[in-house]
Symmetry: D2
């Protein structure tokens, strides 16, 4: 039982608090002989890193990842994994030496302050401590390692809804995702959201979002019934991300509205002699096992709980107060959840990919 | 790593196929000294049992559960748990000796036939084998044991949507749930659904559904960050149920549409001197830890894949065919998922309840 | 965390008490397509079964194993594993309806009575309940399934010491093992032990024993550093058997007495071009990973705690008493531990064999 | 499944290679509110640190441990655990920039070189890489944290045999353990060993050893049948230490020689009204559960495999060679295994202590 680990054969353990000296993770179970450098990981760190646009927190963190173990330069000068645990670390550099006394004894509504305090009797209140979204940096680092395991698999994510504003799916263009600060696959939506989020940000408010993660090239057979289903693990992985309140696979909640005729994915034999599903309502999973179609997962992120409007709350000692959260925050924390969602997909797939090699998992 | 187990300290392992001699489960980690009889479990089996109305499969199974280990009659004549594993078994009695050759080599669209075959190279095709919803009977049995651990906690579930037809939440009445064959908390919805599902059933079609599970009286502090969150485990538990395609906690996907002001649950001190949340958008969980408010989980079930309309498919050997699934099936498998959802909630809570006793989990 | 399970990918969960209706196990993670019948398992049950000679308990149990799930007869009429959990059950038939009130409230020295009672506040006192060596029947059943996974591996065990009397290793003959009631690989030792144990038995006394388990044909590479070492898992597996107090690998405790020069296993290239170890002091494991040499494990079993001589003890309520254990007992419980040791070796190897397929475990 | 982790609720994951930039561990599941500073840990690091006498390797490592997460200074200025993962790191400082080409392609007999290479196809040959005993530094660090959980428990270890030379148990004096470079509880043995090991060292040879670990003040009830037994976990913990080849509990292998009358620990009621065992042949465990008596575990360490005498071996490419291991090595690696054995005992007990709080584990 591990409160700070996930995965079974590709197993990630994260540690660290928002304002401690560093954060890090240990990736255990990565197969040997995969080329891996810090640059391979840094590429993904850059996507999640704060302070890259006015729509995310202005905290400045270079998020430079260091590999402390688990790799070795081989005879050809290529640094490769050795099969031993890979320890990754990022030093925290922008922990402002501000006075935290203001939130030290106050429970910020929507945050984990109240429950951490109730459970542990102590908590690192500086920047949310362990419950800060800063922890997700290490998921992204682990996800970059996971991608090395997944040769031939493409994992991408996009923001598909901000507040009540959804993208127009007929405009979907993966090439757009890196062209705007929202990871939007729809140019027009991105433009609209920029305007909308500026208003939200200036009002000191926040909004929620929906992220869609898609994995293509997934081999048939990943996942294991009954409690090791691929969708079960994906669901848990996404739900474990800060602020996530809902997860769906393929048609998701929409499937409840459909008839069996509408929802079934019919099968034919393709030109290459292999089975082809004519639709992908299932989102790539049947009975918990991948069917070769793209894996499609969506998750909903609640609005950032840190807002400038005062909300009713209490102190540790039970006084009624009004709380307003100043400081550097994301008006829509869902934006930076996009690379995190990708990373979680990668980690789950790497785990099941390795398990599947043994045929049983 | 266990493909057929879930939970950590309250750990359930299920076994058995739809048409084998029996199905069963082992509940490991149940605390000692809890009164437990077969009748305590049977009550819940009755709720899930097939053939109780014309809206569920006509397979006739008494689903009589036997306790094979883990209990002992004490000096006062009360049968109690002993802390050793509790083995539960239900014999299958209505495995019709029909000819299965028709589906033996055919992949039924929407079912796990194709993926099981691709992964294992062999599958028990009789009634879906291991992938049959029959397995959920043992979840219900385990859930009945879990409830014994949860003194003071009330766990209830209701069907809130059938196909596109939702209940009217202003009519919500828990007392109605046992008064209709749908576990509907809304009398009018039940009447409408009866009519609607009759049409679906007669057409040989099927529809999806949404179930809501609510736990009241949950102590503050259950759940453990970061990867042992209560909502993470609830999400995985529900997603592991057959045909489930989406899960949400509290406001769920709706939270994406809200502002931080709308979504935050404000806190005051109640008359009893304890913290009170003025709303429950969070669904009872903050930072992965229960906050004392009702836990609210919803999940979406896809329409039953077995329908009388022909669908395009292929055989094991790659021939293109049309498949129609005759036999005894639920027109809306979501109905019988209601007690299963309750059971999964109970098992997850029992697990976290025991973990929390040690303060750390 | 599972108190009643062992193994990771080949995972065995046992349940049942000595005098309950049945005992059983669930084998999860067995690969598909392996031929498996009840007869395959029964062969090994017969070796452990009580009442086969005057040197073991006279309890009469047919120990007939039933397969309740996880197998399917294929098109050629061969029953094979399907990759789903294999549930095995043995009904208890010789639970004498005797009056247990005598031991109900008394703690038998050397038994688990005191500690079970202290931990759980309740215990099944009938025949030792869960702590009875009867549980090991299911290990033997699981071991028979494990052997199916281990094509080309030969697993054998022998009794090498009874009380202070060791075999003469220069007489070692595996063919003798099935020719005497002790699984002795030395004909003369068997003859001597028969005489010796008759005296022990008639005196109502008991003695300890040492068992040696050897696996030949083990592929190079099984086991994973640092905490998944093959010898670590073997050690735990043997120590979990009732009454075991010591475990050693290869030279074991003798290695402490040697110099580095004596203990190192030198390596040459054999006629087949493959590495050959000139000695096997290591017992087949280097750095926790199998080196291709025979795996050699020994474990020590303490004398049966049930004896006819009175011993000082106390009751549940703290009265000082003298306890004598009547009933049907093994004068040397180490004898029946021989097939159990083999089974545990098989289960550990099957687990690591499957893990190794994924290269990392 | 975790190759580099051990424990369930108090869970330790280690990482790092002998000659990488650092080694470290993550302690997950440590209860909150325990005072913990780097000094608390450093005390134990000092005991295991190399280069402290001429009888251990001359590698110079300050082994300065840093706490990177999981603690917080409370209002009284006391640094305490918070219930979040504790990340510990030690930088490697004395990785000599020597030429490793000599051992790069050679398999040193007795070492893990051959098996790591066979399993992973790549290995960090510098100083043994991951298989180096350097990893045990982090076990000692984790053990220091574990001791914080074990209020009232005293854990001590001693060297009781070096090569064939055992201590005289009638001389046993715990106060002597810190007075000599061997952790010997017998002054005379220490003097003899000094002389003996000087000869071994000068000859470039090595010898094995036996360590005894004793825990006093252990509460009744730790450990869980059947596969979560306290002695099972202790056995695995000790066997996972580098070079360990045998483990025994209480009487251990000697128990095999005894009769039931000799081996049974009789019970009386002590002056304080509590049960007292008149002897401790069991070593503090009955049926896998602690009985309140001192836990006694012994383990055997093989002689250091690095010796100056040439041994036959092969290269990676299959050439037959003679290998001699130069460099800085312990003539008796068993000496520094003493604090490691203590640490493993502490970690296992902390794990079971926390599990036991939940009554079931």
């Amino acid at each position: 039982m591990s409160h700070n680990s996930f995965g079974h054969m590709f197993r990630v353990t994260t540690w660290g608090e928002s304002h401690g000296p560093a954060i890090g993770c240990v990736v255990d179970g990565c197969p040997p002989l995969l080329p891996l450098t810090e640059t391979d990981i840094q590429v993904f760190m850059e996507k999640r890193k704060p302070g890259q646009s006015r729509f995310t927190t202005q905290r400045r963190e270079p998020d430079e990842v260091k590999i402390l173990s688990g790799v070795m330069v081989d005879e050809d000068g290529v640094q490769k994994t050795t099969g031993t645990p890979i320890s990754l670390m990022v030093e925290n550099t922008d922990q402002r030496s501000k006075d935290y006394s203001e939130i030290k004894d106050r429970f910020r509504p929507g945050h984990a302050d109240f429950t951490y305090d109730a459970k542990y009797g102590i908590r690192d209140y500086r920047g949310g401590g362990r419950s800060s979204a800063r922890e997700t940096a290490m998921r992204v680092a682990a996800g970059a390692v996971a991608r090395k395991v997944l040769d031939g698999v493409t994992i991408r994510a996009a923001l598909v809804q901000v507040g009540p504003h959804e993208i127009d799916r007929s405009n979907w263009d993966w090439n757009q995702v890196d062209q705007n600060p929202f990871f939007a696959p729809d140019e027009k939506a991105a433009a609209y959201w920029a305007d909308y989020l500026d208003r939200v940000r200036k009002a000191g408010s926040s909004v929620g979002a929906v992220i869609e993660v898609v994995a293509e090239g997934v081999p048939v057979g990943l996942g294991a019934p009954i409690y090791g289903k691929l969708d079960t693990d994906l669901s848990a992985a996404m739900m474990s991300i800060n602020a996530v309140k809902g997860v769906e696979i393929g048609n998701g909640f929409e499937a409840a509205r459909l008839s069996g005729e509408e929802n079934a994915d019919e099968i034919r034999i393709g030109e290459d002699g292999k089975p082809v599903f004519l639709t992908n309502n299932a989102g790539g999973v049947l009975g918990g096992i991948s069917n070769g179609d793209p894996l499609v997962v969506r998750f909903a992120v609640k609005p950032t709980s840190s807002i400038l409007t005062e909300r009713k709350s209490i102190t540790r000692t039970g006084e009624e107060i009004d709380v307003m959260t100043k400081g550097r925050h994301d008006p829509c924390v869902g934006i930076r959840a996009v690379p995190v969602g990708e990373a979680m997909m990668a980690c789950v797939l790497a785990d099941h990919f390795i398990r599947h090699r043994a045929q049983i998992g």
